[in-house]
């Protein structure tokens, strides 16, 4: 945080073109665009070609077809839309909860902070996988509630990181100055604290997306999350695993798409962390 703002911004813009950041960002953009453009493509993810059945990659079906003769590429794009949506919406939920909780605890300090922090420790020790499974069983069919359920249990790291940063911000002279000037607490939080948290939050949000997508895929793999005919990458991997002996491509392509996206998101998060705060320690 040294140097003038203009200096920093120029350096920041230059660093954005570094391959460590630009490559995963470009890849993710491509995946997101392809998934978003999926419905415009001339393949239908639900149209079945029973006569064709499962077939390997060909000119007509680039990634082959599944056991019901549905085009795998179209299904992969449809599943990607669901998986990415889950990742984004759940991350948004986790950011909202985590930042509010973290700023609340960090700003309040004292006894309230101690209680909230030990509550975080206690929550951290809970078996969240089981809780997510239970929540998806309870709220079953509604995709939006699955998003919310996954997000509602993914905010702990965010809360801890934000809380620590808020504590250290609170001791900084510019915050003291704002308090001394008689600014109201909401104003200080909005104008001074939140903007200084933005970088950190961006980093951890980027790292939350893959972990949330992993949770969703895990739940869908167990047959509890997304229901057919809708699909997600987790469900496609499950279907691929069931049919892998005769049709290995049904497992390999969804698995590769999923892993590559997770890899890119993790790289992006790491690169973002190096960009925004070179001193930040790994969690």
């Amino acid at each position: 945080m040294s140097g003038t703002g203009a200096d920093r911004d120029a350096g920041f813009a230059r660093r954005l073109t570094r391959p460590a950041f630009a490559l995963p960002a470009a890849f993710l953009l491509l995946v997101a665009l392809a998934c978003a453009a999926g419905p415009l493509l001339p393949f239908d993810p639900v149209a079945q070609d029973r006569a064709l059945g499962p077939a390997g990659p060909s000119a007509a079906h680039w990634l082959g077809t599944d056991v019901l003769g549905r085009d795998l590429l179209a299904r992969l794009l449809q599943g990607g839309r669901v998986s990415l949506q889950v990742g984004l919406v759940a991350t948004l939920v986790s950011v909202l909860i985590g930042v509010s909780y973290g700023v609340g605890a960090g700003w309040a300090g004292g006894r309230a902070d101690a209680v909230m922090t030990s509550a975080l420790d206690a929550l951290n020790a809970l078996p969240f996988t089981l809780l997510v499974i239970l929540l998806t069983v309870v709220f079953g069919q509604d995709l939006l509630l699955i998003y919310a359920a996954v997000g509602a249990v993914s905010w702990l790291t965010m809360a801890r990181v934000v809380r620590n940063e808020t504590r250290s911000l609170r001791a900084r002279p510019f915050i003291e100055a704002a308090v001394a000037l008689g600014q109201t607490t909401p104003r200080i939080l909005l104008r001074h604290v939140l903007p200084n948290l933005a970088g950190l939050v961006a980093v951890y949000a980027t790292l939350t997306v893959p972990s949330v997508m992993l949770t969703e895929a895990f739940v869908s793999f167990l047959g509890l999350g997304v229901r057919p005919p809708l699909t997600s990458w987790g469900l496609l991997i499950k279907e691929g695993a069931d049919a892998m002996e005769e049709c290995p491509w049904l497992l390999v392509f969804p698995g590769a798409a999923f892993s590559a996206t997770l890899l890119a998101l993790n790289f992006l998060g790491d690169a973002l962390r190096d960009l925004l705060d070179p001193r930040a320690a790994k969690p």
């Binding site: 420790d121 206690a122 020790a125 809970l126 078996p127 969240f128 996988t129 089981l130 809780l131 499974i133 239970l134 929540l135 069983v137 309870v138 079953g140 893959p210 992993l214 895929a217 895990f218 793999f221 167990l222 509890l224 987790g234 991997i237 499950k238 691929g240 695993a241 892998m244 002996e245 290995p248 497992l251 390999v252 698995g255 999923f258 892993s259 590559a260 997770l262 890899l263 993790n266 790289f267 790994k282």
Partner: protein
């Protein structure tokens, strides 16, 4: 040390109580009940079953009775397996899951720590880059992709192992690898980073100045000191293996605790749902406590502060 352990163990009780309460009511929010089969039972049979298990009583009364039984260590009867108690079923299945987890942890440690140490030793070399790349890739290939792939290659194509089951010693290999390698990757990254940090320390120079062999300097003096963060990581990792085993159990058709929980959630087997969640919660907390103790024992300075009655060492360990 004993009072520290006791204090920690007591602190688990209120958490377990909150978990039990939350899960008790959450499970009952789910639509349907334990005796709603695909082919509906006759109404009077269902009513008798519900009455037998006390499910016709007001929810508050059921809750009080459940908690009273829980306080005596009784997790209740299983609805699906008449004559069995939830405790007996969990004990039976948990043995399988624990064995799977232990093999997986062993695979993770045997693959992850040497790989990380080797990469750090040859820092910047092609080997380092290959290992680091493999670890980065491994972090992103989840167990439910790796498991079926391993089964495809080693069971279905090469025929070395069985694709399903948990009967012979060979049946342990693929599930343990699928589960363990997902932990080995972050373990290798952590070991490498930790070793590189240790490499610059004074005592490493001292060890070299004493004329010790390079291998001894790295693997005895370096690795031992680099392991503290690794041990801290292993607690949550072991916890991850416990819950990660869900998919592996379903991929390889292993009769473990994860599948018991998933089927109980499907069947609305309230006592089993509560029992499994409580068991997992207790196991996770015990694992975290074990790691705290291990970290304290690895670090003589912390050991003294805990023995001296200071509770701060534990608080730091919990925050790590």
């Amino acid at each position: 040390m004993l009072s520290f352990l006791l204090k920690r163990a007591l602190a688990m009780l209120p958490v377990l109580w909150i978990v039990a309460t939350a899960v008790f009511f959450l499970a009952r929010f789910a639509p349907g009940g334990p005796f709603d089969m695909e082919r509906p039972l006759p109404e009077h049979v269902k009513a008798r079953l519900n009455a037998h298990y006390g499910l016709d009583r007001p929810l508050a009364e059921q809750y009080v009775r459940y908690m009273a039984n829980l306080a005596r260590g009784d997790l209740g009867p299983s609805y699906k397996y008449p004559g069995w108690s939830v405790g007996e079923l969990i004990a039976q299945r948990a043995r399988v899951s624990a064995e799977l987890g232990a093999w997986a942890l062993l695979a993770a440690i045997l693959a992850g720590i040497p790989a990380g140490a080797l990469a750090a030793r040859r820092h910047g070399s092609r080997l380092d880059r290959a290992l680091t790349g493999a670890a980065a890739l491994g972090v992103c290939v989840p167990a439910f992709v790796l498991g079926p792939l391993l089964a495809l290659v080693f069971a279905l194509k090469l025929g070395v192992f069985n694709a399903l089951g948990w009967d012979t010693a060979g049946d342990r290999v693929l599930p343990a690898l699928a589960l363990g390698l997902t932990v080995a990757a972050p373990l290798a990254r952590l070991t490498r980073a930790s070793m590189l940090e240790v490499a610059g320390q004074d005592y490493m120079r001292t060890a070299r100045a004493k004329g010790l062999s390079e291998a001894r300097v790295w693997f005895v003096h370096g690795l031992r000191n680099a392991l503290t963060p690794v041990v801290t990581f292993l607690g949550p990792a072991a916890a991850g293996l416990l819950s990660g085993s869900f998919v592996i159990e379903s991929v390889f058709n292993i009769p473990g605790l994860g599948r018991l929980f998933v089927s109980s959630a499907f069947d609305r087997e309230y006592t089993m749902i509560c029992g499994t969640v409580l068991f997992y919660a207790a196991a996770l907390m015990a694992l975290n406590l074990a790691v705290e103790v291990a970290v304290v024992w690895l670090n003589p300075r912390l050991r003294r502060s805990v023995a001296g009655g200071g509770g701060t060492g534990g608080a730091e360990g919990g925050g790590a």
